[in-house]
């Protein structure tokens, strides 16, 4: 039997141009939507979740037509979906594929957990260094307080 005949049907249809975010933990799918402001853009978006995944058991996937993301936006995804894969599609072909990575520094996108931090009182872009990537912990450049992964809030 030819290989292509046993290939399972794609549960979400392919896109011509755009971005696919694959291997999202199901509990983070809606967070990714929120973080990337996908509810506010006018592009066609396909969202799937609780699909079976050989690697992770269950996974979510998001496909956004005709949209390419800046690296700063992709950094945001890494905080809630470190296992996610970023796939860039042009003319139905994968032109770029990479795992999202938690960066060493996270600027502008996370709110400092410390209510008494100066960044929560003046118009100052937040700055954090990632002090632990496995057990996610961010340290505020200004007040030096640590924000744990579970407590991260996005601006």
């Amino acid at each position: 039997m030819a290989k292509q005949n046993i290939r399972k049907e794609l549960k979400v249809s392919a896109i011509e141009n755009g971005t696919v975010i694959d291997h999202i933990p199901p509990q983070s799918v809606f967070l990714v939507i929120q973080i990337l402001n996908l509810n506010k853009i006018r592009n066609q978006i396909m969202i799937g979740t609780n699909f079976e995944s050989r690697k992770f058991g269950k996974k979510g996937i998001i496909k956004v037509n005709n949209k390419y993301f800046e690296s700063e936006e992709i950094n945001k995804i890494a905080l809630v979906a470190p296992s996610a894969t970023l796939i860039v599609i042009k003319d139905y072909t994968v032109v770029y594929k990479a795992n999202v990575e938690i960066p060493d520094n996270i600027n502008k996108i996370v709110k400092c957990i410390n209510p008494n931090c100066i960044t929560n009182h003046e118009k100052i872009p937040s700055r954090f260094s990632v002090i632990d990537k496995d057990d996610l912990r961010l340290q505020c450049h200004y007040c030096e307080k640590t924000t744990k992964g579970d407590n991260i809030q996005f601006i």
């Binding site: 400092c112 410390n114 008494n116 931090c117 100066i118 960044t119 009182h121 003046e122 118009k123 100052i124 505020c140 450049h141 200004y142 007040c143 030096e144 307080k145 640590t146």
Partner: protein, 311 residues
């Protein structure tokens, strides 16, 4: 350190602060050196702190510098809604260096980033107070003749006390054995303990004060700070938990000295004051020498000549 801001004790190396301590010794021997005659020091106190402000102003005045500033945000343009950035940039036009106390954590780092002149952090909320740390190191070194291999006890609020956090981290450079005495709810944060573990140093935790006294060279008492508690009941539970009385020092080592960043409320009774082991008032005086050393170092003035290098 010339022309650099001092925001956090983490910004400077062991070599840097030992240079400051050595220079502070020279100022202690001769505090009246008019080395900053041509300079203006701004002291911006967005929250009141009489002790720290007077210590800085005394240091600047003894060096001959002019001092400008405000003592309370209520009397400054902050009340009119000016941003911190605007205040700092404006004042930097009037002064060569800014000493700043501010109630918000991270304010000093931010000020140092927007200011064209160096900023010395005189306390940013519960975060950092590096000059307190330097004067504590100076006091320990002066009374024990060394910083190495000492047994040092910290007593009281070890959770919110910023002076404790900075000093513990600085002391991890000196083979210190730490003894921490606090109620369970005010234990030293694990982030600070991690620094101790990284250096493979020993630390012990206690809830009773008396058992630790015979074991240590330095007894560093702290005030339980009411303003750091969001829950008034929690404060009431712990406020009188450790009170050092003179007779408790009977079994102490001969070289033991009692330190306290001041102000004290009731955690050291007045009968301790006349004990030769009480060192907290001398400790406050050392703050002036350390701040003289810091101002001259950052402003790049040659202390030996006692004058600004002529261009």
């Amino acid at each position: 350190m010339k022309n650099k801001s001092l925001v956090s004790i983490h910004d400077i190396t062991k070599v840097d602060y030992e240079k400051i301590l050595d220079l502070a010794e020279k100022f202690e021997a001769n505090p009246k050196r008019k080395t900053l005659d041509d300079f203006v020091v701004a002291t911006l106190f967005f929250e009141p702190s009489t002790r720290t402000r007077l210590s800085f102003e005394s240091a600047a005045s003894r060096l001959g510098a002019k001092v400008i500033g405000f003592t309370d945000a209520a009397t400054s343009s902050v009340k009119k809604g000016e941003t911190l950035k605007d205040t700092i940039i404006t004042v930097s036009n009037y002064s060569d260096i800014i000493v700043m106390r501010h109630p918000k954590e991270g304010s000093a780092r931010y000020a140092s980033e927007v200011s064209p002149v160096p900023v010395i952090n005189a306390g940013d909320g519960s975060n950092q107070h590096p000059t307190q740390c330097l004067l504590d190191l100076y006091s320990i070194r002066k009374t024990q003749k060394t910083l190495n291999n000492l047994n040092i006890a910290f007593v009281g609020d070890l959770k919110y006390g910023r002076t404790v956090h900075s000093l513990v981290i600085a002391l991890t450079n000196y083979k210190t054995t730490f003894h921490f005495v606090s109620p369970v709810e005010l234990k030293l944060p694990s982030a600070v303990k991690r620094h101790i573990k990284e250096k493979n140093l020993e630390y012990y935790q206690y809830t009773e004060l008396e058992e630790v006294i015979p074991k240590v060279d330095i007894l560093y008492m702290t005030r339980i700070q009411q303003e750091r508690f969001s829950d008034p009941l929690e404060y009431e539970r712990v406020k009188n938990i450790y009170i050092l009385r003179n007779k408790m020092l009977d079994n102490a080592r001969k070289n033991l000295r009692v330190l306290h960043p001041l102000p004290r409320i009731n955690e050291i009774t007045e009968d301790v004051d006349n004990n030769p082991k009480a060192y907290y008032f001398s400790q406050a005086r050392n703050g002036v020498y350390v701040r003289q050393a810091l101002l001259t170092t950052i402003l790049g003035v040659d202390v030996k000549k006692g004058t600004t290098p002529q261009i």
